[in-house]
Amino acid sequence: MSVLLEIATIIAPLFVIAGIGFAWGRSGMPFDTNMIGGLVVNFAVPCLIFSTLTRLEVDISDFGAAAGMFSLAVGANIVASAILLRLMRRDIGTFLPATVFANNGNMGLPLCLFAFGEEGLALGISIFVVSASANFLLGISFVSGKLSLRETIKAPHLYVVMAALGFLFAEVQPPAWLANTTYIIGGMSIPLMLIALGVSLARLTVSSFGQSFILGLYRLGFGLGIGLILSWFFELEGVARGVLILQCAMPSAVLNYIIAARYDRKPDEIAGLVVGSTFVSLVTLPLLLLVAMQGPG
């Protein structure tokens, strides 16, 4: 299969499913984001994590390495973003979460799955768990100005990962009833996340792009750069390399907008950053996949 056809095959489901959500959001039909979000965050994603990790028997060292390298990427991004925001004379607490934390769930997980199969999904999950925990912890702390552990502890991801790793360490298969249940509930998460992403994009009102657009471009560009540097430095290959690069280069997370709106920290501009970076990334996605899927060098 030619590379272009392969990339089209990877991207098409993402565009079709997010497109359904976008059309839904534009049509004005009611879409209860709280309900879908609640089902996805509390049940579907935890089940997807458990089911993927236990079914695949991922190599625990690969799983840990992906998480570790992604943490380095987040750290580098925090430092660089702080310098950039200082230079641009923007408030660090308001903008930093949106330039650092990317959409590793809604958009990153489907892409990892489509581009690299279930193994890609497992490594993508490792990164997603780091990203979601950091986004809750640091995102809220930056915006609210005080360290808040509450949302991180409340989120089920970490516990589910621990349970799945427990089964992997003990080299025990989860019982069939648990495997079936988590498999079937987990199957909702990727399509529902993509539909919800489309709905959010259709609904976010952007007053002006301006500087937030530049920050959005920075999110994508710096992400891709740090992903490439880390995968070169650690001599990553194949799926591990591709997943790290993809996840580092995702657009700004919708969660940043939700947090900004909750604490009233310039939600309009954050919406511009989220929407701008997402649309740019959708356009540049074929190129990103080309970079991520081709071997180093």
């Binding site: 089209a8 489901p13 359904i20 019982p175 539909i195």
Partner: protein, 296 residues
């Protein structure tokens, strides 16, 4: 795997998903039924049909005999149900849909999937599609008092079923991106249907459990008898036979309650039948499954 482990692998996912919906609703969280219906029936179920039949190889002959058997299942269920209601002196518009249409979607499909894999799901979808057509035409007509076909034509699942039949007969294959997309979207249907089943059970107002109990026992017994004899009559064997019997013994469908609410046909009575039959299914379903899985 022991029989107990095998049974719990089939039954547990269903009751856990429904329990999530039940407690979701009981803890006061919203579950917008319109949103769920649109997601499940307009988007996900059509995709599930397309995705399953583009993956599973079923011969047109096998499809036809199972399809025919399930049409007869519905018709005979209706006729015998009507006779019984006449004997009990109960009004048809309120009770006949509940006696005829079973939970072949939200409960039947996962049972077929977990008991017989994707091939089982494909067979289950045949019975499901035919029952849906019946529900939207005859069921709605019974409750509303008039027949409406345009409602049926608006159901994307019908078009998906036609497309699937075309694909099977012509031997066409979907492009990879289309089967990937429909496979993903199809993943919403079963869990979300079950969650909304649980949520519906949590908010039902019921009356007269006694009558519901006797009607339900009759309905489930009738279903088993019909499923078993029709499978013999149409010469079904293996998965086809098991799926027909399983789909025939499913509890009363929630859609009957929806119609009863819309057309004001004693919804509390129908709700009682849905709840009682689901509760009985928790016992009868594992027994019949055990019998089928051990070569019955």
């Amino acid at each position: 795997m022991s029989l107990f482990a095998q049974l719990s692998a089939i039954i547990c996912p269903i009751f856990i998903c429904a329990a999530i919906g039940f407690f979701w609703k009981k803890t006061g969280q919203g579950l917008d039924p319109d949103l769920v219906t649109t997601l499940v029936y307009k988007i996900s179920v059509p995709c599930l049909i397309i995705a399953t039949f583009s993956k599973v190889v079923v011969t047109p002959q096998a499809l036809a005999s199972l399809g025919l058997a399930s049409i007869f299942l519905l018709i005979l269920n209706g006729i015998l149900g009507a006779l019984l209601l006449r004997i009990f002196r109960l009004p048809f518009p309120s009770y006949l849909p509940a006696m005829t249409f079973s939970l072949v979607g939200s409960m039947g499909l996962p049972v077929c999937l977990f008991a017989y894999g994707e091939e089982g799901l494909a067979h289950g979808l045949v019975v499901f599609t035919i029952t849906s057509i019946g529900t939207f035409t005859v069921g709605a007509a019974l409750a509303a008092g008039k027949v409406s076909v345009d409602k049926l034509l608006k159901e994307p699942a019908i078009w998906a079923a036609l497309a699937a039949i075309l694909m099977i007969c012509a031997g066409w294959k979907l492009p990879v991106w289309m089967s990937n997309t429909s496979w993903l979207l199809g993943g919403i249907a079963i869990p979300l249907q079950l969650i909304s089943l649980g949520a519906s059970l949590a908010q039902f107002e019921v009356s007269s459990l006694g009558r519901a109990f006797s009607l339900t026992i009759v309905k489930l017994g009738l279903g088993f008898g019909l499923g078993f004899s029709l499978a013999e009559l149409f010469g079904l064997s293996g998965i086809s036979r098991a799926v027909l019997i399983l789909q025939a013994i499913m509890p009363v469908a929630v859609s009957n309650y929806m119609f009863a609410v819309i057309y004001k046909r004693e919804p509390t009575e129908v709700a009682a039948m849905v709840i009682v039959s689901t509760a009985i299914a928790a016992i009868s379903l594992p027994l019949i499954l055990a019998w089928l899985l051990t070569g019955g």
